[in-house]
Symmetry: D2
Subunit: 318 residues, 4 copies
């Protein structure tokens, strides 16, 4: 359950303050000369994105490549990589060891496993998405050669600076567009391109909504408004509008694949909150750690990365 | 890709106007005495739901059980079942054989497979969801013994009767609540309960949006508004509010699991539409067949069925 | 667990004396015009093979195709098919209802599921391999277009006619050769071509041994005897000998893939045997039913069918 | 394809002379206090086993645990670990860079991937089985608590010392016994306990044969000789003999699970061999590296490890 994909598969491992965070990519085509600068720049996008809205944790995020490469070229064998968790301050969290932070996964992990790594959210920390950025960057490189581009942006976000002053946090929406996917990708029934995207996006922490094309707005339209008329554009069949977001019957129609992902606000607040501890006693907490006010800026590269992985997987299945 | 689930697995088969529609359920616990009346009543919900808003196609929908049962009791082996497509009028569709209906899967299936069953939507027809109702009914029976209930309802829908007069169609939203799921179900990372639900719901035709808890509305909230405070309610730890929809970190927290699914309007319109045919020529179509004005009433039992399947699967994985 | 394959996937269902036996093939390429005569002839091979050594059960084995085809051409959607169990005489088995037949699966199924279909072996009956012949015939048709041939034969078998007179049964060995597989098929590590073949063959009832190339005999050789020297044969690199059976490091080397499968004797004996019943009481049984003296003749087409399925799957993964 | 198992899953990575060899174990139960001494002793068994018959490569084989543990206790999250390849002498292999060693995977990997790591066999090296020992040790620890024991031994082996003098190598057979598995484990049809064992064993380098119980010898027996009579032994139903090797219909019957694995001789010979190079030219090679004369002693712990993994997986599926 820590693996995503059918052919291009990423298995991730790591807790926020364990020894390392990393992943194993299985099914990556061989003879690909990895663009390490691009991978680093994607990791940097994740980091610099965090400027004003982000936490103060400083990790060098230096990737160590463990396998699957010969002189930087993929062998077709599993590509394992990891990043050490160097800047650990578990003592920041010790006070929270026995307390269930509201809307965090502390309580649910403990219910599931009977144990949890209480240091910074453990396996449920946003830090565990780092391997997704790495795998996504490789997927993007593969798609680049097919002239497929993936571009996401924040289209809605609360007022982060005000929230910071109030010790509060904000959520928002990321919109993503996959350009250049040919018609005919995706599988019918239980392997729809839209279903795979939905599954992937809901793997990100804090995601609570996903819609394709006009999404929820389609629920209010009439068929005559919502339908995408087919037209012949210089010999190529396409649609005049794109309410469907490039997917019909779960399969791409050649138009841009467009979707939106809703993120709830980060649950770690600087302002005091009421909660209960392990013993079931009511208590108050103030989360002092180094936390983002808003996950949206860093979510952009994550949404792109997962979209790239889903798209490469559909390409390889095809 | 025609299989859903990890332990409790449904594989479906069938085209709208082929010989039969059916499924194979693998991983159903043994020694369960199937409640055939309940299964029939669920199929009936799907049918009678279609009264005013639905198509005129009349199928007896008589299930034939092919395997996996001894005197109505499950053996633990695959349960295969089918329903014959008796009321076939493929000639209704012959006129559409070479035409791509707007916002249908005609074009995308042909791009993917180089061939498509043009009779009534083929594999992309809503009729192919019938096996989901059967598997869902069995899943509900399993959950009933654990006091887990699944109830969905239409919470938003266009004006169907007006649309019918105009030769148009409408979409809407189905909300679903899973009551009684214990805390600790679902998997971390890529197997989140929310991700499995999203995946399953996007398998339904016409689904374009999915949200858990307050969903997209959370994107506009502050953390202090969105967080669910833990409380001790008579010795049991629960949350005072349920903005998270019963899921935190992808794992159930013991509160009701609540989600909403957005359906676009049915794309088959009685009113004339412009499109192109296989040769790329512009043409006009009027879809005369027997079609629903709105898929929502019948979608309710489908949403419940898939939710039941995902929940049983999480239970068995646990 | 009733599914075999990664891309070309067969899910089977059915008990020996239930309503029907059948399967669902997912992942079969579209636009293939099925050679129904060939499929029937493969089923006939299974039946006529049973002449002198085989049971007297007469099944018309008329395949009913349920989905996935349009005018006999594959749509790319799941191909479901079934054969009804018409000639059922469960009363033949009623006497054995509470008795564990030696070296049959009666006891183990009951331990696993707490229930079993006691009529003719239920799910563990050799009859449940019928869908394998159908899927194998389709796989062979796909391979035929790539000039890949699969030929199996019985290379060792006890004296069946003598065994019949004695109320006894015999086992034997089937050898299979896959000709024309290009070098480079199969996956490393846990997806080796040899491992996939072994897995598939052990799915057949009564299989107790499997070896590739010189197999167990290699354990007695020296490296200098066992190694296959590479040679350049008219510009093509191949091996002078084929001790490895066409597979090195789990991947095909372009030479014939050769393997052998050992079958134990059929455990149903006409001569009296001692055993225990459900209550744990010692008792004697004489199995009167219509049973083969030797499974080998019919096993030939089964071994070929599974080999074809594994080879097509490797081809599609490639 | 670098993953083994359904619930207890091991994904491995690494090439013989890359940065590191390692694995990720997903699905290990939480709250297990790992017995690190036992894991080290299993790794040591692999190393010391190599005394007289083994290669001279010295690796400290110090495991670095990367994730999934808190104070040595499993969290239920993925357990990642690695061992660095410190003692690399790739120059030993440079001469072989363009030469296909007979009965090695050089040629097949290159055919499959168009590239290969020529340093010491790369991904096809026996060194890549190290993660199997680690995962197997954890699996054994889990089984120990259920009183299930796994013991393998070499039952047949060529004369290693003579072979060494001749610059040759030998193969052999490992027999393994799983004691204490309850009746009812394993799945029917395509998930048989025997099939899973066969699949796992064929994942080891050099394995060319696998048999359960009396295996190939059963092909020569009559049913009356091969059948295992059920008896009531002090209130417990068991079998008087164990020709079936503890498995009937693919499911365990409570008796010892017994199987044998045939290994071909190691293909790296000190004596000269003829082969071809990349250009297709005939050439002679003498493999000077540090190589085992016989893989059997170290294979014992590998066979046990895989058997333990398959057994734990069956237990968790149950």
């Amino acid at each position: 359950m820590n693996t995503l994909g059918h052919i291009f598969r990423l298995t991730t491992f790591g807790e926020s303050h364990g020894t390392a965070i990393g992943g194993v990519i299985d099914g990556c085509p061989s003879q690909l000369e990895l663009d390490f600068d691009f991978i680093d720049s994607e990791l940097l996008r994740r980091k610099t994105a965090r400027s004003s809205t982000a936490s103060q944790r400083k990790e060098p995020d230096q990737i160590e490549w463990l396998s699957g490469l010969l002189d930087g070229v993929t062998l077709g064998t599993p590509i394992a990589f990891m990043v050490r968790n160097e800047d650990c301050k578990p003592e920041d969290y010790e006070a929270l060891k026995d307390i269930y932070r509201p809307s965090h996964a502390d309580f649910t992990y403990e219910q599931k496993y009977g144990i949890r790594d209480w240091r910074g959210g453990g396996r449920a920390s946003a830090r565990t998405t780092l391997p997704v950025v790495v795998a996504g960057a490789i997927a993007k490189q593969i798609l680049r050669e097919k002239d497929i581009q993936i571009i996401a942006k924040v289209t809605e976000m609360g007022d982060a600076e005000q929230a910071r002053r109030e010790g509060d946090t904000v959520g928002g929406i990321v919109e993503c567009c996959i350009k250049g996917v040919p018609a005919g990708w995706g599988e019918p029934m239980f392997g729809k391109f839209s279903a795979e995207l939905a599954h992937a996006m809901f793997s990100l922490p804090a995601v609570k909504g996903f819609e394709v094309g006009d999404g929820f707005a389609l629920a209010k339209m009439k068929g005559s408004e919502a339908n995408d008329t087919f037209i012949n554009k210089k010999g190529k069949i396409t649609t005049a509008t794109n309410h469907s977001g490039g997917i019909q019957g779960g399969i791409t129609n050649g138009n841009d694949v467009v979707f939106r992902v809703a993120f709830k606000p980060i649950p770690s607040l600087a302002k005091p909150q009421q909660t209960v501890n392990r013993a079931g006693e009511t208590c108050q907490i103030t989360i002092e750690g180094r936390h983002d006010v808003c996950a949206l800026p860093r979510a952009v590269v994550l949404v792109e990365a997962l979209a790239a992985m889903v798209t490469v997987d559909a390409m390889l299945l095809r």
